[in-house]
Amino acid sequence: MDIGGIAARLPGRTRPGGPDATPRPAGGSGFWTEAKVERILGAIACIVLALIAGMIIFVFQKAWPSFAHNGLAWFGSGGDVDLQLEDIFNSPANPSEYVYTLHAWPLLWGTFAVTAGAVLIGIVFSLLAAIFIVEFAPPQVNRVLEPVVRLLAAVPSVVYGLIGILVIVPFVGEHLISVGRKESVANVVQLDGASLGVGVLILTVMIVPIMIAIVVDALRAVPHGWREGAAALGANRWRVMWTISVRTARPAIVAAAVLSTARALGEAIMLSMVAGSASFAPNPIDGITFLFEPTRPLASALVENVEGLSVEPFGQTLFAFAAVLLVSSMFLSLAGFIAKQPMRKYGVRP
């Protein structure tokens, strides 16, 4: 029954409150009629929708030439990405002679390696930390931990980047990478501390708070009856947590991983500061050295090259990077939305 519709047809408005309620001019009447309000609010929402949809279409339209010229080879490897970008930047002014050749594999691999590393470490760590916060931490510790998590989530990425580049990168370069290790790959790439490993480490610190927040909420939402039932059957606190709460919260754990992946994919500034900014694809065959090899994810490549956006083919290439990021993050938001559904089905709101 549409109560709002009925109320709209009732004449006059009464104001609650006694005689001390000061009469005000009728705010809801006159120009702001019912239908008009709905239409105006809807129109504003639609304008924002149109802007966002326009942005997505625009990015893809700009990116198309780069994909069209390279085909699937765009995603493949071959040649030096930095040189290819330089060629694109210096391509002739005549539109029919634009250079588009690009094999972006090192950038894609760098993005994947950094993101996957950080998310995998992050999910284990944040699950344990969330269990600690929900079940084991004494109240005094929790009083410290909750602001700490919020603080870590709020620290700007450039501050993480600054600490990384001034403290961690020199430390890794001087103390953790031996001279022999530097020489072993000297003819391929220089190791100076700015590396995949440092990027993964700091990125993990950046995404862990988001994951913890989501997982803690989910663990707290598990119905008490279920846990008490398990405890009554003789399971200890860890077992109750692990077999009942964590299992119920599995969808939220997936959602946390997915949403923080989206955050990690878009991290540009911090990674361009600490990950070495070389379009090099770190090679897992190198063993531990793999972690010390520099790399450059897509988002960092965008930040560093954005000055060339006005050069037509170069700008289109950059928009192709942006399109790849946009598609990935769109799929991730969708996946995050889907992942949260099973808990809703049981009436548990993550």
Binding site: G27, G28, C46, E135, V303, S333
Partner: protein, 314 residues
């Protein structure tokens, strides 16, 4: 209470596997505290070491001579200006969208589309937004909104307005999310009571629902401001690589809005070894000030979120 008390569930009686898990959980929690503690202590230490109040009131200069490279008055003004401008755009828009989604939401398909669009923006990397903003504001008919140098009609597409517009897209999903949550938390009988008193739906929204959702709106806005203050990519792209505020020829307020400048984040970025690396010590102090701003915003969020209990829950 009578009968024997049950034996206390002591960790020592657990199987080894469970004890390992218990230890790992403790270790994770403590690591978290240690990491956060060392970041804050380190930044506070460095901030105190290079503490110089004068830097808040001096304009930056690009020189290697540290005694002449000035402070970060302009970046501080830039951060404040961007915070205010993007909040002015994002907060009303976000509230309007949230109200429309929760209270009207017709036709359903359109509401789902708006909902997913906001979701998509929330996941979009800020550098992608920045690139779109740059090309968007480079259009000729928008040239009055962006910076142009004297006697040149090249549209750079860079200005405080452009940066604030794109920044507001970062804050928007947070405002929408928090406001929707607050509106959804208001029980249906509150709306029905308002209708029963003869208020229209529009009046109910204005006089009953929005005041009740105020803590949620405040939380969302403050969260959004935190994200805006911390974002670097949009500033680097859309405010130009300059340190001093450049408000064009006329020096008017609108000239400032369409002028170029910097913020604390871009100041830190350019002064770190990743940028020109001119003054890492000053970058430390600027980062410390930035951290303080973010912590204050964070504190505000906590205070608002705690808020007063609404009347109808009593």
């Amino acid at each position: 209470m009578n009968g024997p008390t049950p034996p206390r569930d002591s960790v020592r009686s657990w199987p080894l596997r469970d004890r390992l898990g218990y230890l790992a959980a403790w270790a994770a929690g403590l690591t978290l505290i240690v990491v956060a503690g060392s970041i804050v202590t380190y930044m506070a230490f460095k901030g105190a070491q290079y503490f110089d109040l004068g830097m808040l009131f001096e304009s930056p200069n690009a020189t290697l001579n540290q005694s002449e490279s000035g402070g970060f008055k302009d970046p501080l003004i830039g951060t404040t200006l961007l915070l205010v401008m993007s909040t002015v755009i994002a907060a009303p828009l976000g509230v309007v969208i949230a109200v429309w989604l929760t209270e009207y939401g017709r036709p359903k398909g359109l509401a789902r589309a708006v909902e997913s669009a906001v979701e998509v923006v929330a996941g979009t990397p800020s550098i992608v937004l920045a690139m779109f903003g740059l090309v968007f504001f480079q259009q000729q008919w928008l040239s009055f909104l962006t910076f142009s140098s004297e006697g040149s009609d090249v549209v750079l597409g860079r200005s405080f307005i452009a940066a604030a517009a794109m920044m507001s897209l970062i804050a928007l999903p947070l405002v929408v999310g928090a406001t929707r949550e607050a509106l959804n938390a208001i029980p249906g009988h509150v709306r029905e009571a308002s209708y029963a008193l003869g208020k229209t739906k529009a009046a109910t929204i204005r006089r009953v629902l929005l005041p009740a959702a105020r803590p949620g709106i405040g939380t969302g806005t403050a969260l959004g401001m935190g994200r805006v203050a911390g974002d670097t990519a949009i500033v680097v792209v859309l405010l130009g690589a300059v340190m001093q505020i450049n408000n064009g020829a006329d020096g008017s307020v609108f000239g400032l809005f369409r002028g170029l400048g910097s913020t604390l984040t871009s100041y830190v970025y350019y002064n770190s070894p990743a940028g020109e690396g001119l003054a890492p010590e000053k970058a430390y102090f600027a980062a410390f000030v930035l951290l303080l701003i973010v912590i204050v915003l964070n504190f505000v969020v906590t205070r608002i979120a705690r808020g007063r209990e609404p009347v109808w829950t009593r």
